[in-house]
Amino acid sequence: MIFSEHLLTVITFLPTLGALVLLLVGGKGEAVDNLARWIALAFTLVTAALSLWLWALFDPANTAFQFVENFDWIGDTIGYRMGVDGISVLFIPLTAVLMPAVVLTSWGSITKRVKEYLIVFLVLETFMIGAFATLDLALFYVFFEGTLIPMFLIIGIWGGARRIQATYKFFFYSFTGTVLMLLAIMAMFWQAGTLDIQQLLKFRFPPEVQTWLWIGFFASFAVKMPMWPFHRWLPEAHVEAPTGGSVILAAILLKLGGYGFIRFSISMFPDASHQFANFVFVLSIAAIIITSLIALVQTDMKKLIAYSSVAHMGFVTMGIFSGNIYGIHGAIFQMISHGIVSAALFLCVGVVYDRMHTREISAYGGLVERMPRYAFAFMVFTMANVGLPGTSGFIGEFLTMLAVFQVNTWVAFFAAFGVILSAAYALWLYRRVIFGALTKESLKGILDLDRREIAVLVPLVVLTILFGFYPAPILDATAASVNLVAENFANAIGAAPQAVAAAAGH
């Protein structure tokens, strides 16, 4: 029994072990809270290190699933099956690397029930990593659905004033979606006789069945992404969630939807995906343009960033359903990049929220005067949000638009408006918060980033710029699997893998 063979299991459940250890910590008071934080930090850091090791050991040339563990569990229906390929492998380090940052923010912003807060987050980490790492559909459902409970608690207990309303919406939407997915999962089992994802990927569902299965999964993933017009829960949830909750929600939980679209919708139901592609394109365009316009008029920093997340996810869905290599590659890149950048933006909001306890944009202005370091970090992330070349935000947008231009120029045309609108809302936010004269009395004594905040933000700044100039680590790790998915999709729908010839020749 070699350790690396069970690496996925270790990474998935190490955070839960951490949660169990925290349960043993008794007592109350500042010292106990700090002890809990240090324990949680240690566990998340080890998990992060192991996840990076996983990335290092991952063989990018191999399109098969790696680190596979496959045990029957309940009959031969549900098995304990784990494994990653190029589609899923990067989401695990993304999750694991952001968790220490979340734990670090708990020092400044969480003062009540610290231990419980950390336990909930550690359990959530297990669910998230599990959802990406499992190769059993039933387990996927459990992990996917399981993320709702901790998130529900995080917003409901540590959230803001209107948290009950927000949790209600969050739950209402997510739950309605997953019920339909559950039905689809059952139907898949009756069709294919297995819940093993590796088997299901080889199974070819009849096209008329695909349609219904596709809709079932779509309901769940579209809410999770969220796609317009199923996005309404997101701004509320973000506004009410504590900083750590927002970070995880934006950076990881939304990606479950995109991951699901690639793993299930495109790979298992190619005919239906092709059939529904235009429908998805319309919703993606609506997300990009409409939510960008809405972001333009927001008065709450978090809401603005939340709406911009919806717009960015529009690029992801657009890329995935273009069905070609560039689109899927770009979508994965965009998800990783958005995971870094949106997390960083929410952390940036958290920084000033901890100081001023308001997220109203109008309460700020001229922060650069007192907070030059903060202004610099915020500028980097704003530019990444705008999709400036040289930041990670550019590459995903570029590839997805390049991809969809080959499929449907109208979609690319409208998506490109996002390029203009994102600049407008992001720079306007920056201008109102950071620039201008520092005239507000309340801001006169505001302090720049402290050492803990620097420790959180600097790695994110570095990653944002690094992946902008040298995206190869991400693109290479995913390339082989993406090619396979795109190839299978093209074969299934009977189209030539390249649209160039068809479009250019006449």
């Binding site: 309940i74 209402f172 809405i294 560039y326 530019m383 231009f405 390029v419 720079l427 201008r431 201008g436």
Partner: protein
């Protein structure tokens, strides 16, 4: 190594000054960034000399083969393999010289100009960052790297326009510049996608080779079939229009004057705004495949040249006059490109960089002398106070207005390049050629008028600041008057003694002006042959880096005598008119404005483009955003659907189970039941099947 040094030394400078500025201090930051840029400039001239003096050697190395230095991989996906490559050919070498020379001079100048600013290190970091991005743009070997440089200079421009961040007008201008440029980038990005679809490659060499095979291809764009290369070129040209402030996308450039004056000289006159010209020249193998795109380029250029010149006639802010002049001159360059005489466009870019940077830095010297006063109505009579600046400005004006004797190699820089373009426009023929020709001749007259008006208002006559009489009764409109703040970011409230305290600038500011003045005098006569002489020489010099149409060149050299003289005559008319109206009869402008109030206001308000755009783009966007948010999201989705549905569910479940805890838990409960059901079913099914 030479090429890497040119591109990366500015980046190193930017990083040092930007990240360590507060540690090493302002003075050190200034010296490091400036020193590194001077080294880069020297290297650029060395590279350029290789193409200048030994074109045969360059050609022997392989016709049309550019020097390429691979730095590292970038985006690899599917059939796409883009790398960071520094590509140098003649076209790039010309741009390297322009960018690094002007940039290093502006760095030196800024040491004096920004001496009192508390954020100097940051300023120099931005300047160097800009230079790096611009160099990446001109050394690009694929569309995407060019786009990187393109957006990078946009970022630097944004940061520098908004450098005095406490001023709302500067912040607004910075944002406007970025967003309007993004409108252009919208086209540029789509152009890249279309080029990839049609040509199958994003590397320049491969893409240009593929043009021949695809020159008659059609593309299904949106819902129609178009000539493929026309679509590609027009989309790309939209990017050029944004960056080079061409008609319809020009509105950001005058506002960009909110930035410190050295920035205006470097970015908004000599380098960044010419990126669009460079782009079209770089893509010349593609543009020549589409006649319609070429005509569009020419028409847009001609309209811009004319339009901007009319607005320049009545502006009162010294920097805005020069800004509109820049806009107009860029139009000239595009006319040359659109006619197909790419080298003539690049020639004007080259000479323009010298004399326009000279004019801007000279204006900066005036503003510096007048303690940050920019309104020409409050100047006058400065010739005696700042004689060196005065004479340098005169040289710049002579070069801009194109003074020279047709038929002889005697003339200032602008004489060669601008008159060359006018001849090309005439030679291009056709209705568009004639329209462009007359638009440019009239614009030349206006150019001469507003340039001399600037000189007269600023340097001649008697002082008009608050203590010295006339004051504001010359023109009552304050619409466009702006003053740069001093170091502390405050406006100088007291203009009272501005004239009396006016002083000549220190040598650190004047030396760069001398060098630029030398360029403004000599750049034309020295380089005329390489850019606009014999077709053979031009082809030798450019060695395939852009398309050289021999026939058109012959035709341009053979235009009738009156065409050759037309620009000079127009220039003289403008000069005489300015002399008449601002020296002999200073009341004339007022009378003329009163006699044509509608026209005057139309020009003063820049053809009302800002108001128009505000009405048709900005306000509807805000209104739509609010409507979608409040109406659709909040009202329809939230109140009606979600909560309505929730209420129904609550009603039903309320009847079934009565839980005190609130409706949320119903869902949690239902979810658990769902999982339980799944497990039960799985066990049962597994058991049955197993």
């Amino acid at each position: 190594m030479l090429i890497q040094a040119i591109v990366f030394l500015p980046l190193i400078g930017a990083l040092i000054a930007g990240l360590l500025g507060r540690v090493i201090g302002h003075r050190t930051s200034e010296y490091i960034t400036t020193g590194l840029l001077i080294i880069a400039a020297v290297c650029s001239w060395i590279v350029f000399a290789g193409y200048w003096f030994a074109p045969e050697a360059a050609e022997a190395a392989g016709h049309g083969e550019a020097t390429k230095v691979e730095v590292m991989r970038w985006i690899a996906s599917g059939g796409l393999d883009l790398r960071w490559v520094l590509r140098v050919d003649t076209l790039t070498a010309v741009m390297l010289v322009v960018v690094t020379t002007v940039s290093s001079l502006v760095h030196v100048y800024s040491i004096g100009y920004m001496a009192d600013d508390p954020h100097r290190a940051r300023f120099f970091a931005y300047l160097s960052l800009f230079t790096f991005a611009m160099l990446m743009l001109v050394t690009a070997d694929n569309f995407l790297q060019m786009f990187f440089g393109w957006e990078g200079v946009g970022l630097a421009s944004y940061l520098l326009i908004g450098f005095w961040y406490t001023r709302p007008s500067a912040n607004a201008a910075a944002m406007k510049a970025f967003v309007v440029n993004r409108v252009g980038d919208f086209g540029f990005a789509l152009g890249i996608f279309a080029a990839f679809l049609v040509l199958g490659q994003l590397n320049f060499d491969d893409a240009f080779h593929a043009v021949e095979a695809n020159k008659d291809a059609t593309i299904h764009f949106l819902s129609w079939d178009f000539h493929a290369m026309t679509v590609v070129c027009l989309l790309l040209f939209m990017g050029a229009m944004g960056k080079s402030a061409q008609f319809l996308l020009h509105t950001w450039l005058p506002d960009a004057m909110e930035g410190p004056t050295p920035v205006s000289a470097l970015i908004h006159a000599a380098t960044m705004v010419t990126a669009g010209v460079f782009m079209v020249a770089r893509f010349s193998p593609m543009f020549v495949a589409s006649e319609f795109a070429m005509i569009t380029v020419m028409i847009v250029g001609a309209i811009t040249a004319f339009f901007a010149a009319t607005v320049g006639l009545v502006q009162n802010d010294i920097k805005r006059v020069i800004a509109y002049s820049t806009c107009s001159q860029l139009g000239y360059m595009f006319v040359a490109l659109g006619a197909g005489m790419f080298s003539a466009g690049i020639f004007h870019l080259f000479t323009h960089a010298f004399f326009k940077a000279l004019l801007f830095l000279g204006a900066g010297s005036v503003i510096h002398a007048m303690h940050h006063e920019q309104d020409m109505r409050n100047m006058g009579g400065l010739r005696k106070k700042i004689p060196v600046t005065y004479w340098l400005m005169i040289i710049g004006t002579l070069a801009l207005t194109g003074v020279g004797i047709p038929g002889t190699p005697l003339g200032f820089a602008g004489f060669f390049s601008k008159d060359g373009i006018i001849e090309v426009a005439y030679a291009a023929g056709g209705s568009t050629g004639y329209i462009a020709f007359w638009a440019l001749v009239i614009a030349a007259m206006f150019t001469s008028f507003y340039s001399w008006r600037l000189i007269h208002l600023t340097f001649h006559g008697s002082p008009r600041d608050a203590t010295h009489g006339f004051g504001h009764d010359v023109h009552e409109d304050d619409a466009n008057a702006h003053a740069e703040p001093d170091a502390a970011g405050n406006h100088h409230e007291e203009h009272r003694s501005a004239y009396d305290h006016a002083h000549e600038s220190p040598p650190v500011m004047l030396v760069p002006l001398y060098i630029l003045a030398a360029g403004a005098v000599l750049a034309g006569v020295v380089f005329n042959d390489l850019f606009f002489g014999h077709a053979e020489h031009i082809e030798h010099f450019f060695a395939g880096s852009l398309v050289v149409p021999g026939d058109l060149l012959e035709a341009a050299h053979g235009v009738p005598l009156w065409v050759k003289w037309s620009a000079t005559v127009a220039m003289l008319i403008g000069f005489v008119a300015a002399y008449q109206m601002y020296i002999r009869d200073p009341a004339a402008p007022r009378r003329l404005a009163d006699a044509n109030p509608g026209l005057y206001r139309f020009l003063l308000n820049k053809w009302y483009f800002d108001e128009l755009y505000d009405r048709i783009f900005v306000r509807p966007a805000i209104w739509l955003g609010t409507a979608l948010w409040k109406g659709f999201d909040d009202q329809l989705v939230d109140k009606t659907l979600t909560e309505g549905l929730g209420a129904r569910v609550k009603d039903i479940t309320g009847r079934v189970v009565k839980l005190q805890s609130g409706y949320l838990y119903h869902y949690a409960f239902a979810m658990l039941i769902g999982i339980a059901a799944l497990l039960t079913w799985a066990i049962a099914a597994g058991g049955l099947l197993g």
